[in-house]
Subunit: 195 residues, 2 copies
Amino acid sequence: MSRRSGILEFAVLGLLHDSPMHGYELRKRLNVLLGSFRAFSYGTLYPCLKSLVAQGYLMEEKNPGDPYVPATAINGKRSKIVYRLTPEGKQRFEELLSESGPDAWEDEQFGVHFAFFGQTDRAVRMRVLEGRRNRLEERLERMRSALAKTRERLDRYTLELQRHGLESVEREVRWLNELIETERGNRAPRGGDSP
Amino acid sequence: MSRRSGILEFAVLGLLHDSPMHGYELRKRLNVLLGSFRAFSYGTLYPCLKSLVAQGYLMEEKNPGDPYVPATAINGKRSKIVYRLTPEGKQRFEELLSESGPDAWEDEQFGVHFAFFGQTDRAVRMRVLEGRRNRLEERLERMRSALAKTRERLDRYTLELQRHGLESVEREVRWLNELIETERGNRAPRGGDSP
DNA sequence: GTTTTCATGTAACCCGTTACATGATTCA
DNA sequence: TGAATCATGTAACGGGTTACATGAAAAC
């Protein structure tokens, strides 16, 4: 119990929503999906899967194709396990998908939400994007005023570091604004190769 | 024992190298210095300070100006404590400053190293900057080939997320290249308001 | 006089990694 | 036939936060 990270649970449910999988395969997909800002090891994933089963969101299936029951365990435990969403799991995923409150503005939470925007209602996408942007603009203001206060006391490199950090956030704000514009126009993100 | 994070130790020694301070003041400076990529709470800082004292890198001084010994503790423990570097502490800091190996290329380690570039030898700065850039270029290559492999299977938003992550890293590479150029020319970083 | 900020600490918890253990399957 | 990769799991540890506890000093 209690193995939760919010973001892991979300991503697992989302990936299994598309198609059932082994933990092993799941982990690879996970690290492609979230790779640009997060990664998970087996030590995190497997216990999380067990916990999601215990919560009734997933069910385990022994793949009939390949038995693969090594003698490790005393009585035929441990085989290739395919995880599949239960109806409760689907419901839970929809629930997570529809969240657009403050939590979804935070760095990592935002990342997962964004990764599943393909399955998210347009209205929710809008609220998440705008919330995120506002959060970052608040952060920018705090950073700027903090910088203004200490500016003279900092040497070149500290200043340069600060400037670079600031510009990273400014850049994300611009990115979000572009996405918001696109959403408003109901068009695909620039560079999209879809319809 | 064992309370270590590398980066916290480094930053603490570096800040106390400039001038002795209370833990409280130290934490604020810490979060200005590293704020753009990291923050620490008291629950981390205070135990770390104790551990650095135990290792002989810091000494505690009760500030004679203000006694402030509240009745909390059984026998006059807990007063305003000023932390000061011992000679061993200074030596340790120089040691950390001169490190330019693989560890210093990693995200957070690089951050602290950079923050103290003002006290770092030029040759070391060069090696750190170039090492970091090479690390990131390796990462870019891995990201690009991973992306190329899965490109078709990803929807708009996943793709967009990937693209944004990629460009973040590309941007940092450009930044590093500028810094390296500047170092080569022995000039101040652009925008610098120094001599 | 009361709110804010200064100031120090700790215990409970959380989230996650590393290293280990075990074995099947695939491919050169 | 041996290496790489597939596949599952756990125990020990690491590093950090939150919430709590306590109180002085300054500012309003």
